[in-house]
């Protein structure tokens, strides 16, 4: 409850800030909208030439891309700016600020700001998913929708953990500028169907880094109905990743030596 109150205060502050810089909000919303457009354009162009990719039809692929974008927009909206600044703050010593706050430093450092543009665009991504579901003539049951929501949040937890692990490197390395690029390079794989991965790629991107499963599982729940084993599997993976991320962050925290005298 206490944490929720702290989060709410941060959210309120972020909204007030957004209202102050409306032009910025508009530009960044447009940025995310256009990037989603690029991904959908790629799908549209490819399906001009082929009826299916690894067994996925055009609108199934749109749904996959939409789902991948939904998870990513939620990450952008809730956590991105905070974690992106984590690296810089650790280097500059501004991280001290979070240590003196009433809560676990990871919680304080990852929830300070909200990005309303990312959240606004998560509705656009959801719109893409609904559009694809309509085109596929899907009628998901309430259970399917609950399952979809559950695995989306499990996916969000996995993406969050990967980002925390990446940014925690700044406790050990002196310069981590550009390291966030790793995350973007990896998310490219989350927009591909699982069946396209073979051999080593399958081992790395499907099993070791669960990025492909994160986007494929929710989409598959909508096509072929909710399966408890899939949902529980993904929630389990999310818990493991989150635990590892918190563990590594805490280890890093012990190394943090501030920057001032």
């Amino acid at each position: 409850m206490n944490y929720f109150k702290i989060w709410l205060a941060g959210a309120r502050y972020s909204l007030v800030r957004t209202m102050m810089f409306r032009g910025d909000f508009f530009i960044w919303s447009l940025v995310e909208l256009l990037w989603m457009g690029v991904n959908l354009l790629l799908v549209a162009v490819i399906y001009q030439h082929t009826p299916s990719i690894a067994g996925w039809t055009q609108y199934q692929m749109v749904m996959l891309v939409g789902t991948g974008m939904l998870v990513q927009r939620l990450l952008m909206g809730f956590f991105w700016t905070n974690l992106f600044e984590l690296g810089r703050n650790v280097r500059s010593g501004a991280f001290d600020f979070f240590l003196s706050q009433p809560g676990h430093p990871l919680f304080m450092a990852s929830t300070r700001k909200l990005d309303p543009d990312g959240l606004a665009n998560s509705f656009v991504a959801l719109g893409v998913v609904i559009f694809a579901a309509n085109k596929l003539n899907l009628h998901p049951s309430v259970l399917d929708m609950i399952g979809y929501t559950l695995v989306i949040f499990a996916g969000l937890a996995i993406h969050y953990s990967i980002l925390v692990l990446t940014m925690s490197l700044s406790f050990w390395l002196t310069s981590t500028s550009g390291i966030e690029g790793t995350y973007f390079a990896l998310t490219e794989f989350s927009r591909l169907p699982k069946g396209a991965f073979h051999g080593l790629a399958r081992l790395v991107f499907v099993w070791i880094l669960p990025l492909v499963v994160v986007s494929n599982t929710p989409a598959e729940i909508l096509f072929s109905g909710f399966k408890l084993s899939w949902a529980l599997g993904l929630v389990g993976i999310a818990i493991i990743w989150l635990s590892v991320a918190i563990f590594v962050f805490n280890r890093g925290l012990k190394r943090y030596a501030s920057a001032s005298s």
Binding site: D24, L34, L42, E188, P193
Partner: protein, 269 residues
Amino acid sequence: MIAVFSKYKQAFILGLQSNLVYRWNFLARGLFSLLHLAAAFILWGAIFTVKPTIGGFNLAQTITYFVTLIILQFFIGAFNEDYQISEEIRNGLINQFLLKPINYYLYRFSVFVAARLVSGALVLIPLILISPWIGSYLVFPHDMWRLLCAIPAMAMAAIIQFSIAYCFGMLSFWFLEIQGFVILSMAVETALGGQAFPLDLMPKAIFNIAQYLPFFYQMYFPAAIITGRIGPELITQGFMIQAFWVVVLLCTSQLLWVRGLKRHTAVGG
């Protein structure tokens, strides 16, 4: 003339030295591009299992196109020049150029050329390392004239890329933050510059429109010449449109610089 040249030669040497400091960053970026290449490989590999050719090209030719794009990006692409210029304007570092007989555009361009030589050389390292695996997928046409045409196309593409970045940097005279604009244009450039997919796969009507936009000449045009995706007719026409955009962007760069300086306040000594 020689004096003018030696002025910018110094800027070039300075650029070489300062960019060599960032060699690990460029190498890391090169490794990220390999991830991008792996994603392209997986996606297009799956697409080509259904059909042997798409748009008249097979899997190897398509992979060759993406590898060429990566090399071009490190040799002629603008990285964070817009951001550097923006910082120099915001921090007042451009004030020193206002008093010296140095053209700011030419100075930045010399540094850009030096930076691209460094990053271009560095991207070859990861590519050579993975060549045993991708070597069999690299199929370039054997026409000598294509290579000869590629040189001016790449040079003009570099000017277009740099000038667009320069113009975005110039926006700092008017706006506090330009990062939003930069990433916005990056999305357009990714789609219409041919980085997401070879532009010739787009429907004919859209391809014809894209041909008249500057983005077409940033990456796709030189890459398509080298990999044989476009024929002699389109290349001849392309050179004219590319030259047109070079002139337009050079004029815009100069205009924004002159207009921007009128708004600029140089504070301090």
